[in-house]
Amino acid sequence: MQAEVVFQARGLTKIYQVGETAVHALRGVDLDLFKGELVVLLGASGSGKSTLLNILGGLDKPTNGHVIYGGHDLVKATERELTEYRRYHVGFVFQFYNLIPSLTARENVAVVTEIARNPMSPEKALALVHLADRMDHFPAQLSGGEQQRVAIARAIAKRPAVLLCDEPTGALDSITGIVVLEALANVNQELGTTTAVITHNAAIGGMADRVIHFSDGHIAGIDRNVEKISPQGLSW
């Protein structure tokens, strides 16, 4: 069975100018992401995976190439269209959570639900990540793992078509990290959200449908897991 393609990236290159040297972050990437799958993008830091994720999420534009989402080329989209795309279709989870410190957990989720179409309630989103009892806490009152789960709740509350996670466990210890990954796996299963997780931690690859290996700005290989391991089974 071939699932529906959500993203179709073709010939993506990205060159940054840092000082006087040009950095080739992406050197020709072709990739398809399918509906409902959980993909892990694996690679060393500087391999270009974050750049790819930013481009897929409409946060950045490639130097060359195309990204087709829902029949539209994101590369050609205007600023306004990209804003709409991010508002209605994509959820982000970042390594450092990036919660707004002046808002409580519930309000951090509400920031997104207030502008989304047909979102779930902040309370429900937080319940999905098992934080129903911590809703009125400010970020400073939450542990790292809790903060990251708030971030996940915030990302999924709009029922995005795609969830993009950049090193979601990068700042967490392994036990907390696993709790966060469980939350991601749950969401993926229950909502059927296409999920892309960036990591340099090979062990996390076990929970994915596919593992895409990144190296030096291009895809070095793609593994398909015959059997997914549940996050509790992971260790590092």
Binding site: N54, G57, L59, D60, E79, R80, T83, E84, Y85, R86, R87, Y88, V90, G91, F92, F94, F96, N98, I100, S102, L103, E107, N108, A110, V111, V112, E114, I115, A116, R154, K158
Partner: protein, 789 residues
Amino acid sequence: MTALTRKLFRDLWHMRSQALAIMIVIASGVATFVMSVSTLDSLQRTRAQVYAEFRFADIFAPLKRAPERITKRLAAIPGVREVESRIVAEVRMEVAGFPDPVIGRLVSIPDYHEPKMNALYLRSGRMPLLNQTGQQEVVLSEPFAKAHQLLPGDAITAIINGHRQMLRISGIALSPEYIYSLGPGAMFPDNARFGILWMNRKALASAYDMDGAFNDAVLKLMGNVKPADIIESVDRILARYGGMGSFERRHQQSHHFLSQEFIGLETMATIFPVVFLGVAAFLLNVVVTRVISTEREQIAVLKAFGYSNATIGWHYLQLVLIITALGVIAGIFSGRWLGQGLGNIYMDFFHFPYLDYRLENNTIALAFFIGFSAAIAGTLHAVMRAAKLPPAEAMRPEPPARYRESVFERSGIRRFLSQPSRMILRHISRKPLKTLLTIIGIAMAGAIMMISNFQDDAIDHMLHVHYKLTHQEDLTVTFNDPASRRALYEIASLPGVTYAEPFRQAPVRIRYRHREQRTVVQAFDDSMSLRRVLDRNLEPFALPPEGIVLNDYLAELLGVNVGDHVVVEVLTGRRPKFEIEVVATVGEMLGIPVYMHIDALNRRLDEGNAIDGTFLAVDRPFMNAVHRELQDMPKVAGITIREAAIQSAYDTMGDTILIFTFINTILATGIAFGVIYNSMRIAFSERSRELASLRVLGFSRAEVAYILLGELAVLTLIAIPIGFVIGKEICAMIAVHMNSELYRVPLIIEMSSYAFSAAVVLASAILSGLIIWRRLEKLDLVAVLKTRE
């Protein structure tokens, strides 16, 4: 309330101390604006109302003596609506318990009806009763009555036409003609030594032998009539009756001085708010840029979740607008309060029957507009940059700062510098623009402090030059009519008089091409040791035997250069009119005097070797005795005491300009502190992580403080002299704008003003430094290191 709105309020609360500092700055700027504009508006409106209500005349025509029927001819001039004739006379007066010479101006009021023009506002008592036999009654001007605590029913003595006469006060009143009242020859009001007395026409006429005649006329014009045309006709009619040149309202003394005072107030109403709000805009820019840079990632996250540029821009703009709105509202309320206070102070000095203080809605609207404009101008760039920040870029931490060796180090002094000192220098030179902005901010704070003191210095200098260098006499005696030199010798021989110097003076109209100005020619002989004319270097200037010497401001008003010929029309005596060469200009700061050598003027006046008065040097112990002797001389019209003139000058200036300045100094101190505290506070939060790292590495609090506060100390020390330069420029601008016929403000800034400016800046810096020092103590090392840069 949306989550974003909540974030807004919590952010505001979080930065409340900074927000408060900005609010104070904005409020100070708006308060100065509201205070000055509302006071000026209220004074102008009150003046217009009082003029209308009390029928202030349009044309004033003093003359020697004309039969009453001439008024009919004046009334027949096309464009004249009404004419009223009067008798006006200046008399010496005696007030019990007040030894100094006092001059009164008697002004007649119609016997059987209200004056058609220049009506009186009776504050207490009643109008004088017509009474043929007994004591004459007068209405006294309120400021004079107040100065001597005189009430209706009290009596005063006037020497009317050589006879000592007791006058009974029937009432106390104010007149639109004497809102600002100056005695003859005075530069500043002196209510104790000059007063107005209104008396029935009949009584005054019989005292001065003026039955069926008048020596002063006032005219009211129909609308749309040019006063200049009427003046010509009036002068033609009155010429053979000793007309002294009629003049329009614009040149009427009280109105003229009032207008000149308003010009000064207007200048202050413009310059102070511009400077204050400019500083506020600058401060907002610094703070908002800082807030936005710390919220870089939050902005990125909001964008990642689909918030538009406009929404994010609006979010930060709201932050600015709320702070500004609160500042503006606080400014309006305090400005209104200060305005009312200032208005009342002006009332001590501009004698309006009432002050209609009102804060106009359009002033409020303008305050909001100006406040918001300044705030938006100061922050728009930062807000737009925040809105446009590409999300992926914002997501990444700010690129690490690039440091280089500073210029100082490269110059070879490196080996003398400790590691922390190098950090200070490198940090300062790393972001030259930011460093520059901080320096300018602190410098502006210092500059504001200078403006306030500058006016103090300028006034001191002005009065010092006028009353200490120019006028060295103790007394000035003016005669009723031109007298011979014998009068001079007679006075010079009074016991106690050590020296006497003659002068001649004549009111004139001076004309060059199409411009003309009324002033007084003053003429001295060669001695000039008591009354001097000074050149621009304040050195005594000898009057040339021929030609006329103009004050340079008057020369500018007339557009005259040295070598040009002006037409001088004398307004008294035989009223000669002559052309004369301008031989020099002098730079006097008070009034617009014109000088000639006494012999040259006398030749022109054709009245022989006459004098109008004398300057005297008097031995102090003999002062009162000399007064008494002089008072008893019939030919003496008035005596001016230099000490008293100085006092009234200071009182006047003190009441108006200096009070205004004092209020502004207080507001400016607030601004100075606000700017400096914010600069320090921002530097602290930007570098708290770096400072905490150093603490972790084993630096003591003092060592860490040295790095932060040392940098700020360096910037403050650089800023202080720059503040001097900026301050001087602003003062120069004020000086130019305040110039009027009353005075030219010299650009004099005393060392003490520089010192004061530096002291306030340093004190603000030290206080801010102490607050930062306390915060350094609370620096949470672990927390700071945990958060990502």
